[in-house]
């Protein structure tokens, strides 16, 4: 039996803020523009251009700081981080080193052994870099500055995590808080939330930390889990072999399942930080702080407790619904429009989750409106459509957010409630299916199901199945 090791992990989490414009200029942050069409002299580093801070960036950063129990720095500044790279048009990044906006916070996560606090060392504001495009066949790279200057906050944790599970729980917690604040959509796949993992190992029980490495390029929770396992093993192997772990930045290649050192003679890692003379200090006033505090939303735990009080829906549903701010909003707004909570919850839990999964989407991507969901529930409540039609309408709503009432009208999907017409169809079905009729009369209860199905088919689905059932029984 070899030695026991403990993994010590701290995270640097970058979150793209959901502002309309970039951090230092009036260019849009919208995704999907043609390369370099969302740029100006400021975010392409043109000579003579100057940065001016977007107020909303500060508001979001302070809001996240408050939600993570940080001290807000009342006198804070921006610094320049100097390094040459083509995605960084000024060859310095405007960031915060000496006086970051938030410090000294913590969040609580659930672990196998109960609650655990993860310390937050600091949160700072900074600008994102542009995008580099590479083609293996070409001997050049291309630069697109559309993302250059998109606002980021970097949340730096203390080295308080000990396993991949804790890391994921911490990230989930941050994501939930930030989504609830509306400060970011926190999508790892799209890069609006990115995590760098600082990891070291030490013998179990040791007091000193081991030498840590920093791993970059982790694009999903599963990549993080694999990278933590891989790096832990690599460091233990080094130690067991009597070698030293080198403090360095490593790039995780999830396809190969290996990390590689990102070292070069030309990267001195000496960023020559100094206060940016083009920007003035930020003084966070009591009024500003109160204003942000006043706007803090109801966070997940509070929401869960309230749902439990207010709505008669299962704890499981509450957990899923509040797991996404967007879904919780959708739920509450639909209920506010008069729909019964249980029914709203059912649509979300069954059909919505199914379609999200089928389409590989996040709850944040749901596009249908509370108004249309409420409308659909109203139609089913009034028995204007049956449940099969309702599902069909819902699918359309999920795709294109159609107005269910109009859609049902246009497509002629309304249930036929005219008893005369229905009776006529049922009579025809009875006449055309003597075998089933006989089976039923001989005590084969199940045969009625076939007859209901035949009737529904003849009615093109637009009948209320319970009414059909009732009529069949009557006529048989």
């Amino acid at each position: 039996m070899g030695k026991q090791y403990e993994t010590v992990i701290g995270l640097e989490v970058h979150v793209e803020l959901a502002t309309k414009t970039k951090i230092f200029c009036g260019c849009t942050t919208a995704f999907g523009g043609a390369p370099n069409t969302h740029t100006c002299p400021v975010c392409t580093g043109m000579p003579g251009s100057l940065p001016v801070l977007n107020r909303q960036v500060l508001a979001y950063a302070v809001a996240v700081g408050l939600a993570t129990n940080c001290d807000i720095t009342r006198y804070c500044k921006f610094d320049r981080k100097n390094y040459f790279y083509p995605d960084n048009p000024q060859n310095y990044q405007i960031s915060q080193l000496y006086l970051p906006i938030c410090r000294n916070g913590k969040v609580e996560i659930e672990t196998e052994n109960g609650k655990k606090a993860i310390g937050i060392h600091e949160i700072h504001m900074e600008e994102d870099a542009g995008k580099m495009l590479h083609d293996e066949l070409d001997d050049y790279s291309l630069v697109d500055y559309n993302r250059s200057g998109v606002p980021l906050i970097e949340i730096v944790s203390e080295p308080d995590m000990r396993s991949a599970e804790e890391v994921i729980a911490y990230l989930e917690k941050l994501r939930m808080l930030i989504q609830y604040l509306g400060a970011s959509d926190c999508k790892m796949q799209e890069g609006s939330m990115r995590a760098d993992v600082n990891l070291s190992v030490r013998e179990a029980g040791a007091l000193e930390y081991g030498t840590r490495t920093e791993m970059k390029n982790l694009n999903s929770f599963s990549a993080i889990t694999r990278a933590i396992a891989g790096e832990t093993a690599r460091q233990i192997d080094l130690i067991e072999a009597g070698e030293k772990v080198v403090q360095e930045t490593r790039r995780w290649d999830d396809n190969v399942g290996k990390s590689y050192a990102m070292r070069s003679k030309e990267d001195a890692q000496d960023y020559r930080y100094f206060p940016d003379p083009d920007l003035v200090p930020i003084v966070v006033s009591d009024e500003f702080l109160q204003e942000i505090k006043g706007k803090q939303p109801e966070f997940r735990e509070e929401k869960m407790a309230r749902y439990k009080e207010e709505f008669d829906i299962p704890a499981y549903d509450i957990d899923i619904i509040t797991g996404s701010k967007h879904m919780a909003d959708l739920f509450e707004e639909t209920v506010a429009l008069g729909a019964q909570p249980k029914k709203v919850s059912n649509w979300l839990m069954v059909e919505t989750l199914r379609l999200l999964k089928e389409n590989n989407m996040d709850p944040e991507d749901i596009r249908f409106s509370p108004k249309n969901l409420a409308g659909l529930i109203k139609l089913t409540d009034a028995k204007a459509i049956n449940s099969t039609v309702a599902k069909e309408v819902f699918e359309e709503m999920f795709k294109n957010d159609i107005d269910p009432e109009k859609y049902v009208e246009e497509k002629g999907l309304k249930t036929v409630n005219d008893e005369g017409a229905l009776r006529k169809t049922v009579e025809e079905v009875i006449a055309n299916n003597p075998q089933s009729v006989e089976d039923y009369r001989n005590g084969k209860e199940k045969a009625i199901g076939f007859l209901v199905g035949q009737t529904m088919k003849a009615m093109k689905g637009k009948a209320d199945p319970s009414m059909v059932n009732q009529l069949l029984k009557e006529l048989l």
Binding site: T21, A34, N36, T37, T39, C40, Q56, L142, V143, P277
Partner: protein, 97 residues
């Protein structure tokens, strides 16, 4: 000269500043930087204990923009100055291998 600048220092600063000096320039740079640093060391004569470093002269603070889109697409103009461009992007030597 109190400050002796080594070849390693010049090499290192060259990496930071992305400058490549010829042998002659390098010798001059060593001499110039040494002399300048000797001169700057004069500041050591002043007692600055307890003096806050002053980056801005005036107490101007909290200068913000509102979060409103004001810029349109000026890509073609901006790219006109690029030494090399392709498909609306800036061309640089390959950075990935």
């Amino acid at each position: 000269m109190a400050n002796i600048i080594s070849d390693e220092t010049i090499e290192y600063v060259g990496i930071l500043a992305k400058l490549e000096l010829s042998a002659k320039e390098r010798e001059e740079a060593k001499k110039d930087m040494g002399r300048m640093l000797d001169y700057i060391d004069k500041l050591g004569e002043l007692d600055t204990e307890g003096v806050e470093p002053m980056s801005h002269i005036f107490p101007v603070q909290n200068v913000f923009r509102e979060d409103v889109v004001t810029n349109g697409d000026t890509r073609d103009e901006i790219l006109k100055n690029a030494p090399k461009e392709k498909d609306g992007m800036f061309v640089v030597p390959k950075t990935f291998d």
